[in-house]
Amino acid sequence: MSALLEATGVAVEYHRTGAPPLRAVDHADLTLARGEILGLVGESGCGKSTLGRAIVGLQGTTSGEIRFDGRPVAPLGLRRRPAELRGLQMVFQDPYASLNPRRLVGDQVGDGYLLGGTSKTEARRRAGELLERVGLPADAVKRYPHEFSGGQRQRIAIARTLAAEPSCIIADEPISALDASAQASVANLLVELVRELDMGLVFISHDLSVVRQIADRTAVMYLGRVVEVGPTRQVWSEPAHPYTKALISAVPRADGAGVLPVELPGDVPDPSRPPGGCRFHPRCPVALASCAHDDPPLTILRDGRSAACVLAE
């Protein structure tokens, strides 16, 4: 199986004046196939958004390689997205900030077609079709973003992404800013589109239960690194990394049983001064003495699963 998207050993550093560089992503590996949904989860500050931005070329990398459809992804900077990377698109978290409040919805969605070389009238017609496809009325073309609710705005943002006819979408917390019922419908829309258009989707989220519901595979990040990846069902039923285990047991369930979620002691350490050895060892309930100096790499286990823990088998 050739991967649609392949990231190997990606590192991203943010340089700051008067402080050591902050390594937000440190040797992260990811692969994504066509028609697949990869859930990327982790606590805030673990580097999942930075990795997402690096994958689409919005963020420069310090080292490592990102390939989309076999071609290397170079940071865009201020350049226009080259034609061979147009298939790689991003959906942002906040549809209140990502849409231009002063432009008609139809024009914003049609931009993708205009850049692809279609005429103005044709772009507008196709924008209408796309808006209907994402479940909005066709007259949305002639309206402004403020006339829509959060869930509808996120649908507009998704339609705008689709205008570029992508084969891979990186969605960074696409439903976090929405209400519970709108969350479910936008998540369903993304799943439908992936299946129908045979796209790849990286779904970045801190909401584990949604990822569990929609992702084919799940990757768990901690402090800039992917510490576990595998088919969602297995990762949930028998997590191989103690961090994954801790994350899962911290999710409260709406079952009425009144069970308090399990607490993971300590905070995520400062990424500019990560602990030596395994990065999770200071908070790990099952750490061995050797974990303080040995840094385990992401190792392939079985059934397409990998984990970065000496205890995983």
Partner: protein, 324 residues
């Protein structure tokens, strides 16, 4: 258990460009001492305005009616000056975002001791001693040093712990927590929920938790009130409401959640979106989105009625009650 707060027929009008509009419409509930009472609902359902009305912190030109009796006194009828003595002393609040609720330029010591010195009239050194105790109660490591620090030096979870310490400074009887863990990661959220639960047990503190997250409700609340369009849809014991809901809206919220066992099933959203301020439909506010709506739902505004012991639901056709 003794009733600590009794809210009766609370209505809140907010001033809008088109005149006053009801954000909360005839809400009634009671909170016992030592109880965790949950108010659930989507954004715009009136849950935050309910808390603000109790504290007298509503936006300019808002009006209220009804009663909210706390320790024998009606909070809604109190003069602003009298309410100021209750607020921060017997009723305290924790808000969603600790990075905005704490003052960025003041030291933690100033913020934790401010209420104590104002309300209890104690001296600086005594207040300081109490602040150290409070910070260790909420598990801030090295409290002595933390007092000299500023909010920016702490992580989000630690800041929320400090905000809780500020709220607890005068040993309130009631804590209003508005989305206290929404801005936090699940691992940090677990710690805050455990802290709230411990405080309630150790201090006989009543907590009103406002959240849209039914998982959080399930973890901490004893009783849950589900709000929709400014009104009570359903109220009852945690387990009953979450496992045998009688209102179609509660059912819908539960069905929209990812299934606990995972699997390939898609999520089942509630169709449509919640009504905006001033556009609450006639009759049952939920009827345009309800799969069970009948003609009478469009005409008559249902009041919550007792469907079983301690469990009220505002759905007269009661389509989910048939099985029981």
């Amino acid at each position: 258990m003794a009733t600590l707060l009794e809210v009766e027929d609370l209505t809140v009008w907010l001033a809008t460009r088109n005149g006053p509009r009801k954000a909360v419409d005839g809400l009634s509930f009671r909170v016992d001492s030592g109880e965790v009472f949950g108010i659930a609902g989507e954004s715009g359902s009136g849950k935050t305005m309910t808390a603000m009305a109790l504290l007298g912190l509503l936006p300019h030109a808002a009006k209220t009616s009804g009663r909210a009796v706390f320790e024998g006194r009606d909070l809604l009828a109190m003069k602003p000056r009298a309410l100021r003595d209750v607020r921060g002393r017997s009723i305290a609040m924790v808000s969603q975002d600790p990075s905005t609720s704490l003052h960025p330029m003041l030291s933690i010591e100033t913020q934790v001791t401010e209420h104590m010195r104002h309300h209890l009239g104690i001296g600086k050194s005594e207040a300081r001693g109490r602040a150290v105790e409070l910070l260790s109660t909420v598990r801030i490591p090295d409290p002595e040093r933390a007092l000299k620090a500023h909010p920016a030096q702490f992580s989000g979870g630690m800041r929320q712990r400090i905000a809780i310490a500020v709220a607890l400074a005068c040993e309130p009887r009631l804590l209003l927590a508005d989305e206290p863990t929404t801005a936090l990661d699940v691992t940090v959220q677990a710690g805050i929920l455990r802290l709230l639960d411990r405080l309630r047990r150790e201090r006989d503190l009543a907590v009103v938790v406002i959240t849209h997250d039914l998982g959080v409700m399930s973890a901490v609340a004893d009783r849950i009130c589900v709000m929709y369009g400014g009104r009570t849809a359903e109220v009852g014991p945690r387990e009953t409401v979450l496992t045998r809901p009688r209102h179609p809206y509660t059912r819908g919220l539960l069905d929209a959640l990812p299934h606990p066992e995972g699997g390939a099933a898609t999520l089942r959203p509630i169709t449509g979106s919640p009504p905006s301020l001033g556009a609450v439909p006639d009759g049952c506010p939920f009827h345009p989105r309800c799969a069970f709506a009948v003609d009478s739902c469009r005409e008559r505004r249902p009041e919550p009625v007792l469907v079983e012991t301690g469990h009220l639901s505002a759905c007269p056709p009661d389509p989910l009650g048939g099985a029981a």
